[in-house]
């Protein structure tokens, strides 16, 4: 695999994998009522915020009510998508056998149908994390996010596409599964999308129906204000989700891999790739909740099916293991990580930034430990 991994002997990689497995087993054995109570509380909060937000918009003629309503609704949508939807659909609560928390049955407040997302995200992205041409999260099929993606003039628009993707992120997540880029390249036929497309239409119809038709109509003369309020809440969630998710894998120093490098990976090597390919964001407790604990992207990628509320408690141990094996643990405050992502998006629009970079991690152990 990459340079850094060559520094570890196969036995070390195996030992490293075993240490991570131990953390996992300890947490799995400890799961219980407190985890269920936690997610039930988050769900209660989310539903209450949603009801309050929708209710306040009935008084939307009064500006403070409109602002409060939009804020409540935005937070509700963020919680629904991130701390509840993303995590439940990862199977983090399947052990409870509660149908309302079942990864196979849960549907989120997002135009992307849960079933399609489980394929594109849970399966494709989490199995092939940061493997070029396999992990379709690298640029979502529209952006150049890695120097190894061959430059062409289309990529001059990289910053523009990224901005559009951030604004319409839920639609981007939905269309992601159609694999337009592969259709353009002729690797996939239009007709392959019929079934997926129908599901999208149905789900998107319902979501658009409630946010942009039914709720506005119900508020009568306030319809334009309600429409605008719901659109703002969706936009806020889009910008937030895009920011958090792009900080998860694309800050500088996060590595990507080729298919050849990752053939016949052992479990330890798989863990290694998850760590090298992910980045965390530092912040307070509320911040972590609002990101769905994806601020602990590294821990999430190691253990995607462990309840996310457990990531903060194991982060220290994971970091210590990384230090022990001389591995980077990429983390930083939101503004720093975001700036790093933005810089990459702009830089990679240009043809002269085409050389795949040598992983910074092999250059010196000093930068590695400071990361």
């Amino acid at each position: 695999m990459t340079g850094l991994q060559d520094k570890l002997t196969p036995a070390q990689v195996e030992e490293f994998g075993r240490e991570l497995d131990e953390i996992r087993q300890r947490i799995v054995a400890d799961l219980g009522q407190v985890d269920v109570d936690y997610i039930h509380n988050i769900i209660k909060t989310q539903r209450a915020l949603e009801v309050a937000g929708r209710g306040l918009l009935f008084a939307g003629f009064f500006p403070p009510a409109w602002i409060a309503g939009v804020t409540a609704l935005s937070v509700a949508k963020i919680l629904d998508n991130m701390e509840i939807g993303h995590n439940v659909m990862h199977g983090q609560y399947d052990w409870t056998r509660d149908p309302a928390l079942s990864s196979q049955k849960f549907e989120w407040d997002n135009v992307a149908p849960a079933e399609n997302w489980r394929h594109s995200h849970n399966y494709m992205h989490h199995t092939y994390t940061n493997i070029l041409d396999k992990d379709r999260d690298i640029g979502y099929g529209v952006l150049r996010m890695d120097p190894a993606q061959k430059w062409n003039p289309y990529y001059l628009g990289n910053p523009v596409y990224a901005t559009l993707l951030a604004l319409f992120f839920q639609w981007g997540v939905m269309l992601h599964d159609l694999e337009f880029d592969r259709i353009v390249k002729g690797e996939r036929k239009w007709s392959d999308n019929k079934e997926v497309g129908l599901k999208m239409l149905k789900k998107a119809g319902r979501q658009v129906g409630k946010d942009y038709v039914l709720f506005p109509l119900l508020t009568g003369p306030l319809a334009p204000l309600t429409f605008l309020g719901n659109a703002t809440a969706n936009l806020t969630r889009n910008l937030w989700a895009f920011s958090i998710i792009f900080c998860g894998h694309f800050p500088a120093d996060v590595e990507s891999f080729t298919e050849e490098e990752t053939e016949n990976e052992s479990r330890g090597q798989w863990y290694l790739r998850q760590i090298l390919g992910s980045a965390n964001i530092t912040g307070g407790k509320l911040f972590h909740v609002m990101t769905g604990n994806l601020s602990h992207q590294i821990e999430h990628h190691l253990f995607p099916d462990i309840p996310a509320r457990r990531y903060p408690e194991i982060a220290g141990e994971v970091r210590a293991i990384c230090e022990k094996y001389g591995l980077p643990y990429n983390t930083g405050p939101l503004h720093k990580q975001l700036f790093s992502v933005a810089k990459k998006i702009v830089k990679l629009a240009m043809p002269w930034n085409g050389e795949p970079r040598t992983p910074a991690t092999v250059e010196s152990d000093k930068t590695l430990r400071a990361a």
Binding site: G32, V36, R47, W95, T96, D98, A100, R206, G209, K210
Partner: protein
């Protein structure tokens, strides 16, 4: 106008569903009160009494979605224990003509759910319920002569039949032969005494297996007991529920007399599953989770669990159908009946299906 109200209510409900998409109304209603849900059945415990030291009798008011049950059927009861939902089957003991639900649950010393229910349920608890299921029911029209035979907590489905027949003012002969260890374990004695006063054709016989006094009959089931309790039993339809040894000896007696067709049974104790772990071969594949492993010869549910999967399941004995999944390819043998089936895209119960060679499950 009366016809318009439900239609209008339905329209309002579907508007509410559209407004509350994707979660639906129940996920909001249950936060206000778990009994308000519309699609799932739940039960509010309105009464708790203890007839014997190791049983609890619950009176339950089911939520709106409940459509009643037929005497002899069972319901799946779901409770949360340490954050995990657990489901078990119990037969209601009350009359099918009664709107409430009565369950009597014996605490099995090894039983997670039965012990939990005995320990923790109080008035005001809310339990998850299923719609009722099961074929162990009285035929319609009712047979003229009916023998009801039970052992221990197996009394509940047959008592339900008796109470239903009492509500229907059944005029034929009914014998109720109930086995228990002794007077301390005998369930529903007062109710049975009350019923025999109300139903002229009813004869209640208490048989104690471990006590020499206090009952009408003593010792384990025998043909003499049968002749004593219901001399006309060859003319009757017999309904039996109880522990396996009782079921086996009754079945044997009826088979010997060529009366097997008149004996109807319900089993709540796990049957002895037959499987062979020595000569197992083939690959098992759980398609959706992508998990693949060697067939160990055990039932599929156990194999899946051994492989780290957690399929939905309930009774683990082939009666509740919670673990039903679609078998997309391969052949399985039903460990209860020995029947094999190799149809594609067939629904099978994981807990009692043993793979014969390669099998693929869509789960």
């Amino acid at each position: 106008m009366t016809a318009l109200v439900p239609r209008r209510a339905r329209r309002l409900a579907s508007l509410a569903e559209a407004l509350l998409t994707p979660h639906g109304m129940d996920r909001y209603l249950e936060l206000v009160d778990p009994m308000l849900v519309r699609r799932e059945v739940r039960g509010l415990v309105t009464g708790v009494r203890r007839q014997t030291p190791d049983t609890v009798t619950l009176t339950i008011r089911p939520s709106r979605a409940w459509r009643g049950f037929v005497a002899g059927q069972y319901v799946r009861v779901t409770v949360e224990i340490d954050g995990v939902r657990r489901t078990r089957c119990y037969s209601p003991a009350g009359s099918e003509h009664d709107g409430t639900l009565e369950l009597t649950i014996k605490a099995d010393p090894q039983g997670l759910v039965s012990r939990h229910l005995n320990r923790t349920v109080t008035t005001g608890s809310v339990l998850g319920l299923s719609t009722p299921d099961g074929e162990f029911t009285l035929p319609s029209p009712r047979p003229r002569r009916i023998l009801l035979l039970s052992g221990g907590s197996g009394i509940t489905p047959v008592l339900s039949m008796l109470r239903t027949l009492a509500d229907e003012r059944h005029e034929g002969d009914i014998a109720f032969l109930s086995y228990s260890n002794g007077a301390d374990d005998a369930l529903y004695r007062a109710e049975l005494a009350d019923l025999s006063r109300r139903l002229p054709g009813l004869r209640v016989v208490h048989a104690f297996t471990h006590a020499k006094t206090g009952g009408d009959l003593h010792g384990f089931f025998s043909k003499e007991h049968l002749a004593e309790a219901a001399p006309w039993y060859p003319d009757a339809e017999t309904f039996l529920c109880g522990p396996k040894p009782l079921m086996d000896s009754v079945r044997e007696a009826f088979e010997a007399d060529g009366l097997g067709a008149h004996l109807h049974t319900e089993e709540f104790t796990p049957p002895a599953l037959t499987f062979d772990t020595e000569n197992a071969e083939g690959q098992i594949r759980f398609a959706r989770s992508g998990r693949e492993f060697e067939n160990s010869g055990k039932p599929l549910l156990e194999q899946a669990e051994d492989a780290g999967l957690k399929p939905e399941h309930g009774c683990r004995m082939g009666i509740c159908f919670s673990c039903t999944q679609i078998k997309t390819a391969g052949c399985v043998r039903n460990a209860k009946t020995g029947e094999t089936s190799s149809e594609e895209n067939e629904e099978i119960q994981l807990c009692i299906s043993v793979p014969v060679g390669d099998v693929e499950i869509n789960a």
